[in-house]
């Protein structure tokens, strides 16, 4: 009897597990994106001319990007397409190589900017080369926000 129950139970559970989405990974990548977004936010205000140039904010954003971006590529396994209100578009898994490459490019751009940005003028010229990576990737791989 116990064996029969176990058998029926496993029949139910195994497919459920196979279908289940990897929620932890979605939570993790969302937290990383949020950390990068929060760090970049003050630099956006500077870019728009709403805030004074502040090298500390730029340095912090560069640090957070270099820390978090390389982690992201691995956080989009095949079983993480849905759940946790993910804004990831299915097209990510159709262009996995291009998608993963973008995090490498982002981290590299941050590294380049670190050396290039010294004042408000170099910031205006160089910083969009970093944050442009965010916009380009979102346009292709993130659900549009309305």
């Amino acid at each position: 009897m116990r064996r029969a129950i176990l058998f029926v139970f496993s029949l139910l559970v195994v497919p459920a597990l196979a279908l289940a989405q990897n929620v932890d990974v979605i939570k993790e990548r969302k937290a990383n994106f949020k950390a990068m977004g929060d760090a970049v936010k003050p630099t956006g205000a500077m870019l728009k001319g709403e805030a004074e140039f502040d090298i500390a904010a730029v340095k912090n954003a560069i640090k957070v990007i270099q820390e978090k971006a390389p982690l992201q590529a691995k956080l989009f396994p095949d079983d993480s397409k849905e759940g946790e209100k993910t804004e990831a578009l299915p097209v990510i898994w159709e262009n996995k190589a291009d998608f993963e490459e973008r995090f490498v490019k982002l981290a590299e751009a941050a590294k380049t900017a670190e050396a290039a940005i010294t004042d408000a003028d170099t910031f205006q010229a160089e910083w969009p080369k970093v944050t442009g990576n965010c916009g380009n990737c979102h346009k292709k791989y993130r659900k549009p926000k309305d």
Partner: protein
């Protein structure tokens, strides 16, 4: 052996400035889309191309509005914007296959033209206050909107283009192709050559040609540019 051919006498329908306006508008609308869609390929995260393109479109639309008051007879709003009753009557005649012919815009098409001009104008104006979603670019008057409103304006900027403007453009192109194919009225040719076959047109009497349309058009274009760029300058806006 002599080639026999029928010469259809032609009559002027569209002046040169109006035709140049039309095709420039078509090209710039296409470029507006492309300069945003392919900003990555253009290596233009700050949307510099897209923003200049928008200012050019706004200037063009202001010019068309001025031309609608000071242009030759059949491009004036007063000559082709008719009431809803006239538009419905024309639509009814069209569905019966017995519409009257117009040298300028017909009462139904006139509303499509007004809609296209108003939509492109509205999209370009909203763009003045818009915000790229990663703070990489703003319209020149963004500071008057502030972030919250700018986000609304930006989603309207987008929505009025896709789907609203795209639908109206599809209607416009379909109608013009069908007039040519089904009713044998060469409307697209007329917008290229300026001429239509000489027939009995409902509105032909209202066509009063200008003495020097090109000079007048250029002066109005300068005025339109002065209004757009002077306005932005007066409001303290920053150009791309």
């Amino acid at each position: 052996m002599a080639v026999e051919r029928t010469i259809v006498p032609a009559v002027a329908a569209w002046d040169l400035p109006t035709r140049v306006f039309h095709w420039t508008l078509a090209v710039l609308v296409l470029c507006a889309w492309a300069s945003f869609e392919f900003s990555e390929d253009l290596d233009d995260p700050r949307l510099v191309w897209h923003r200049w393109n928008g200012l050019a479109l706004l200037t063009l639309i202001v010019w068309r509005v001025l031309w609608g008051f000071a242009g030759p007879g059949n491009v004036r709003f007063a000559s082709f914007v008719r009431g809803p009753a006239a538009a419905l009557r024309y639509a009814r005649d069209l569905s019966r296959g017995t519409p009257r012919k117009f040298l300028g815009h017909n009462p139904l098409g006139g509303w499509v033209v007004v809609g296209l001009i108003a939509l492109v104008g509205a999209i370009a104006t909203l763009g003045l206050f818009a915000l790229e979603h990663n703070d990489n670019a703003t319209g020149p008057l963004y500071k008057y909107a502030g972030e919250t409103w700018a986000k609304y304006f930006t989603s309207w900027h987008r929505f009025l283009f896709e789907p609203v403007l795209l639908i109206l453009i599809a209607i416009h192109i379909t109608a013009n192709v069908l007039y040519g194919a089904v009713k044998k009225e060469p409307l697209i040719t007329a917008m290229l050559t300026g001429a239509k076959p000489d027939e009995n047109y409902e509105d032909a009497v209202s066509l009063t040609p200008l003495a020097n349309p090109i000079r007048r058009a250029i002066i109005l274009l300068a005025l339109a540019a002065a209004l757009v760029f002077g306005g932005i300058w007066a409001l303290g806006g920053k150009l791309p």
